[in-house]
């Protein structure tokens, strides 16, 4: 497991926010109901993600360890950047457009 929070941890954070901070402020019965439905939908996503195998981060871990040890082969920067770019396409794709 490498990218934290994981997708599952993010659904958990959103569910806590909806239940703990939004729901108590809602007086409108229709909105209360829809928020509860949304929280239920999130818990479906949570359980579905639970069934997936964890991401294998052994390669990333080994690379980080080697760089820390000062073992930086030619091509390391390109490799590292490609890895960050792939993560950014998920986490914040618009940031890439700014380069």
């Amino acid at each position: 497991m490498s990218e934290r929070p994981t997708a599952q941890e993010l659904t958990e954070a959103i569910a806590e926010f909806l239940g703990g901070e939004i729901l108590p402020t809602l007086d409108d019965q229709r909105l209360r109901f829809r928020t509860l439905v949304a929280m239920n939908a999130l818990s479906i996503v949570y359980r579905e993600l639970d069934a997936l195998p964890p991401e294998d981060d052994s390669e990333r871990r080994e690379l980080a360890r080697r760089i820390r040890a000062g073992d930086v082969e030619p091509g390391t920067l390109a490799r590292v950047k490609a890895d960050v770019e792939a993560r950014l396409r998920v986490n914040s794709p618009r940031a890439l457009e700014r380069y």
């Binding site: 990218e3 954070a13 959103i14 806590e16 981060d57 990333r60 690379l63 980080a64 986490n91 700014r98």
Partner: protein, 309 residues
């Protein structure tokens, strides 16, 4: 909650207006309140655990006082309160102006703002170290410790740290650093800089650490072609700083500390997310920072590419 806060404040400040809890600030609460015709701001600890390299409010208040005495534009420090409704707090003047970075970079920025930023920084760096004996000296090694504490592998941050270890500039005499000197932590109005806020990361460090931190891309708030906080290029700012301090900070050294600032902020994103993940302070905002740190890691790679050519 508001009634109790008002009562507690009245006990130390006399008659006060109804306190208003301001938005923002994950680790600290900010209350706006008026007393004796004065606009005040009460900074109070929030529930979460304080990050190990941030100052206690007592020490932050001491730093604010030292800065005020040194003539730095800061909110006037008024009173430290050991226990305000069970948590430590301090009271200071409430400055008027804009603090939100996204808005500042869209304002008609006063042309003197980069110079004013340099002038205040020069004053901060002239604060005598022995006035604030509790401030710790930061080292690159501290950043590695913080990253290890997070525990997840981040090769881009490692590569940034490696480059910083391999290319250390000649050591300058360490000074009092603000620690988070950038757009977003200063109050701005149509005449420019009104005051410097958020002293909780103050520490002892190389002066160029503070000077370079404001160049980090994350503090340009989308106006990426203006290296100094989205408001201007860095030249006038650095020239003025050099002129006032007698230092000779050049482009290479500035590049070094801009990279160091990015590495520090990339680690900062991860440690903020850890506060959520470890249950010290549950918040979607902190959680998402853990993912947005990838933006900073990408910038580290981008800077390393430029440095390699």
């Amino acid at each position: 909650m508001i009634a109790e806060m008002r009562e507690a404040l009245q006990a130390v400040l006399g008659d006060v207006s109804e306190p208003i809890l301001l938005a923002g600030g994950a680790s600290k609460e900010a209350w706006a309140v008026d007393a004796g015709g004065e606009r005040l701001l009460v900074r109070r600890a929030a529930g979460g655990v304080i990050h190990r390299h941030t100052l206690s409010l007592e020490h932050e208040f001491e730093v604010l006082k030292a800065a005020f005495e040194a003539g730095v534009k800061v909110p006037r420090p008024i009173l430290y309160i050991e226990s305000l409704e069970g948590r430590e707090a301090f009271v200071m003047e409430r400055l008027e102006g804009e603090t939100i970075g996204r808005r500042i970079v869209r304002m008609e920025a006063p042309t003197q703002l980069p110079l004013q930023l340099a002038e205040e920084l020069a004053k901060i760096h002239a604060i005598p170290r022995d006035r604030l004996p509790f401030l710790e000296e930061a080292q690159l090694e501290r950043m590695m410790d913080e990253l290890d504490d997070v525990g997840d592998p981040h090769p881009a941050i490692e590569l940034g740290l490696w480059w910083l270890r391999e290319n250390r500039p000649e050591r300058r005499e360490p000074v009092v650093n603000h620690g988070d000197y950038r757009i977003g932590n200063v109050v701005i109005d149509e005449n420019g800089l009104v005051g410097v806020l958020d002293w909780e990361f103050a520490h002892i460090d190389d002066p160029v650490r503070d000077l370079g931190f404001g160049l980090v891309r994350a503090w340009r708030f989308g106006v990426d072609d203006k290296r100094l906080g989205g408001i201007a290029d860095a030249d006038a700012y650095v020239d003025r700083y050099n002129e006032l301090t007698g230092l000779d900070v050049g482009p290479q050294e500035l590049d070094y500390w801009e990279l160091a600032g990015n590495v520090a902020w990339a680690i900062g994103c991860l440690t903020q997310a850890q506060r959520h993940l470890r249950g010290q302070d549950r918040s979607v905002e902190l959680a998402v920072l853990g993912r947005l740190g990838a933006e900073v890691e990408y910038e580290i790679c981008h800077l390393l590419e430029k440095l390699a050519t």
